[in-house]
Symmetry: C2
Subunit: 265 residues, 2 copies
């Protein structure tokens, strides 16, 4: 066996039995089970920046579903010609302009949204119409129709989405948190939903996961909890990474996303 | 009053009272109420190709909602980590490659779908990966994950979506009709839903509109009826047409979408 391609935990079991092994392509970003094996006489490659497409689909799914009233219309039992909402021409703010935010911004521009980005210093990023620094966060949020958080869990992102920030949004705005839970002040969020300042909120991430059935959050009207499934792994993307590396391997070229065993990434 | 901008039925009432009128921008594609007025001493402009963005939002809203299980998740009362579906890498067929289909195809490629088009002679169209002629319709449909119909009502489009065509799709496919009702063989559609060959169907258009509450179609499982609201008029698009023409008007340039009073379009 010269090449292995699969999930690190399973491949780790095969490693001792592959005599002529030269290359292992992991299907996960985390390769700890392989790093922990003593064997290191092969090239190990991972996957990077693969969560842009599923995160984009997650955000668009919920924004479009709210605007088009998919839940109500899917259960309709009677003709309803009421005009639905739309994304085109609306404004969306993305907290976090890394690979996830940048992929989302490109797709949002393609459907006619105006896209603002928030990052540490307000530097310009491709696909964003404007970028703001965290020091200008209220200006960033001013009048937004939609706010999407894709921030990592750092002390700097703690409770950035608080009552003051939510009050800057357009009344009836929609909030989606696909990043980490610490960014949301949960009490302020519930108050904003209750007051109608937010029409809907979607939380993919929570301080306690899995959230117990008994948690009162499940009962908050217009709050939707997606159980940490926003950035699912899409098999077609992993396969395309493998195919590109397979071409490179056979062409004698250097492989993408090579892992350094000592660093572990 | 030199310039009027609005809905033709209301503007028709104002026409006799505007002494210095030079230009009327209609906010509708249909300008019959203005054509029927005797007054013709002004430039009349309309709107064209404005339904691509709302039709694209309509199709993406439903495909993403099914894949992400938005209806179930929006009503969830308990943690659900089951992996949802995705669009990336899947195949979508569009019947009709005009301005609607072409706009849809561009957005679908942007989210990683492979997009096939169907038109009379199979000519290539930008934004489509491949195009097929109506003579090769079974090849067009072969193994599609999603089928979207955006065809006008012509004898040639009558019941193109029949049992034979539906059988070509991937089992569990999704059908969306945003065009005209005549293209769907309703009996074959219901049979395909019943057999699971179609997981879902969305019909925006029906042979009888509005569909009476008593119609058994409302009760067909996994059939969703959107009451002819797919291609809503988006005010932001109409305003952008007016703004472009306003700049042209003040620059002394020719206006877009000018209507010929004698032809009526």
């Amino acid at each position: 066996m010269e090449i292995l391609f699969g999930a690190p935990d399973r491949l780790a079991l095969l490693l001792p039995h592959c005599d002529s092994l030269r290359w292992v392509q992991s299907s996960w970003a985390g390769v700890k089970p392989l790093i922990e094996c003593p064997r290191r006489d092969y090239q190990l490659t991972g996957v990077k920046n693969i969560f842009g497409p599923p995160m984009t689909e997650f955000v668009l799914a919920w924004l479009l579903a709210f605007e088009r009233r998919v839940v109500q219309r899917s259960q309709a039992r009677s003709w309803d010609e009421a005009v639905d909402g739309h994304l085109y021409g609306k404004s969306l703010g993305v907290m976090g302009t890394g690979s996830l935010g940048s992929h989302l911004a490109a797709a949002c521009q393609a459907v006619g949204l105006r896209v603002r980005g928030l990052n540490s210093d307000g530097r310009s990023i491709p696909n964003f119409d404007d970028c703001y620094s965290t020091a200008s966060i209220n200006e960033f949020a001013d009048g937004l129709d939609y706010l999407v958080a894709l921030l990592p869990d750092t002390p700097g992102s703690d409770r950035l989405i608080d009552a003051e920030l939510l009050a800057q949004l357009k009344p009836g705005a929609i909030l989606i948190n696909g990043g980490r839970a610490n960014v949301v002040d949960q009490g302020a969020l519930i108050a904003a939903l209750d007051a109608g300042q937010l029409a809907h909120a979607v939380l993919d991430v929570l301080n306690l996961e899995p959230l117990p059935d008994s948690d009162p959050l499940w009962q908050v009207p217009n709050l939707h909890i997606t159980s940490h499934t926003a950035a699912v792994t899409i098999p077609e993307i992993i396969v395309s990474v493998f195919c590109e590396n397979y071409r490179r391997y056979h062409g004698g070229r250097s492989l993408l996303h090579r892992i350094d065993f000592d660093k572990g990434y």
